[in-house]
Symmetry: C2
Subunit: 259 residues, 2 copies
DNA sequence: GCAAAAGTGTTACCCGTACACCCATGC
DNA sequence: GCATGGGTGTACGGGTAACACTTTTGC
């Protein structure tokens, strides 16, 4: 907490006029990634109900309020859209072009979050909610977003959200190797198999990993460092050999920390 | 440019009231790195002339105006402080805690820039300008900034600028290996030696590089890829063997691009 | 000659990759 | 049995790190 150092300064602060200059609006937008039923990387989009870009799909977000930090605003938006709280969120950049929004000057701070598989109960065609998961694909000239019954190109997204989404994807693909982001996609981080984590890596990077190498990597990077531990239990009923179940040792300290 | 799709939308936009909600102020702050005479990594700080944090050292910055993008505001601040234009700038994060600034709600978007050695003509003790270079050092509990005749700890910086500076440093140290950031420190990117570039890497990473290995790296990463080319000339008057001079092939396209 | 930097060569080791192979489980 | 995934072994190759050594220039 800041303490003024003189009476003069107290007077200055008391009489300061915050409205001397015109100000922009600021939003916090959050790119929510998850894995869909087919283990493909998906993103949550909402259909805009009002102008501008009415009926366009957009990244969820909203205005930052005066009583909350920007990070808090992003977390609040995440909760409003998904019902999920206390997930680590990662800032990916701020977008501040003058004409981003036709209503007025809006600067957006973008974040991303990773949501456990199947934790979003958004049904296909559940149009009442106007929120939907889209599988993220690539074609020659950009992203393609594949919903249950609709396919859209990145250029159809509202505002500059195509740009935001592209940057989020790039960041995720970079970060997956040296952060704990991948664990955010796990259904249950206190009981998971190496195979599940491998599927997450494959979905994000869009390439298959070698089973043996991934296993050794996992043991070295996470288990031998004490971040993850063997539960002593085995999976069952999977239609194949029982696998060792692992858990994250200290879920509390599991922010968006780096290795 | 956005085009309304209906008359109804035109009316909506025309009648939209941007001042429905209270808004924060937004600043663009820029961390300016350079190498000092001793080839140590240094940062430009300015001494605050007014309240709050009067007489404290701070990262240069200023309010984003309504007619400029946030990136443009950062570039403008860079020019105002250093006189330098058209340098690549890199966004490093947005800082949006509620109480960052005792005057009012201020959200700061932080950038960093790299400035050629000796291009800043800030003399030590030139107090009229209130701007000074500080060598960046580390001690047990954080950054130490060493000026020509004063030494300050990170905790003495204004606002949350210690945090911003720490993040900038971290980013720079990561980025130096896979971006072209290092070239920004060169006095003349159309005539430089491998040794000069090596000194830059050493200043940033605070560790010495092996001559032979650095050389081979340089040739492989930059020369054989066509980013940098041999000028055919040799350095002279250095007190040691003449070195090959290299130049960046296409300085125009030399943004903060990644390799 | 000496110091400082330029430039070349060589070697040892680590690590990523690829691939082969056996094990366990459920259908 | 067969498909699927779990788990182990191993061998090759490339790249990095470490270091030795020669060359050139200015003082």
């Amino acid at each position: 907490m800041y303490k003024p150092k003189s009476d003069e300064e107290k007077v200055f602060l008391a009489e300061y006029d915050p409205d001397k200059y015109e100000k922009p609006s600021v939003t916090a937008d959050i790119v929510v990634f998850t894995l869909d039923a087919k283990n493909s990387l998906s993103v949550l989009l909402i259909k805009r109900g009002g102008y501008p870009y009415k009926d366009c799909w957009a990244i969820p977000g909203g205005f930052v309020e005066m009583v909350e930090s920007v990070d808090t605003a992003a977390a609040r938006e995440l909760k409003e859209e998904t019902g999920l709280e206390n997930l680590p969120i990662t800032q990916i950049g701020t977008f501040g072009e003058v004409d981003r929004d036709p209503r007025m000057r809006v600067i957006s701070v973008a974040y991303m979050a990773f949501v456990p598989k199947d934790s979003l109960c958004i049904k296909a065609g559940d149009d009442a909610r106007d929120a939907q998961l889209f599988e993220v694909k690539n074609d020659e000239d950009g992203l393609v977003l594949v919903g249950e019954r609709n396919v859209i190109k990145e250029s159809e997204l509202a505002f500059d959200h195509a740009k935001i989404l592209r940057i989020a994807l790039k960041r995720l693909r970079n970060r997956i190797d040296y952060t704990l982001d991948a664990f955010g996609f796990l259904k249950d981080n206190s009981s998971f198999t190496i195979y599940e984590l491998k599927k997450i890596h494959e979905a994000v990077k869009l390439e298959t990993e070698d089973t043996g190498n991934f296993r050794r990597d996992f043991l070295k990077k996470y288990v031998s460092t004490g971040l993850v531990e063997n539960t002593g239990k085995k999976s069952q009923g999977t239609g194949s050999r029982a696998a060792t179940l692992y858990r994250i040792k200290d879920p509390e300290s599991f922010g968006s920390s780096e290795l």
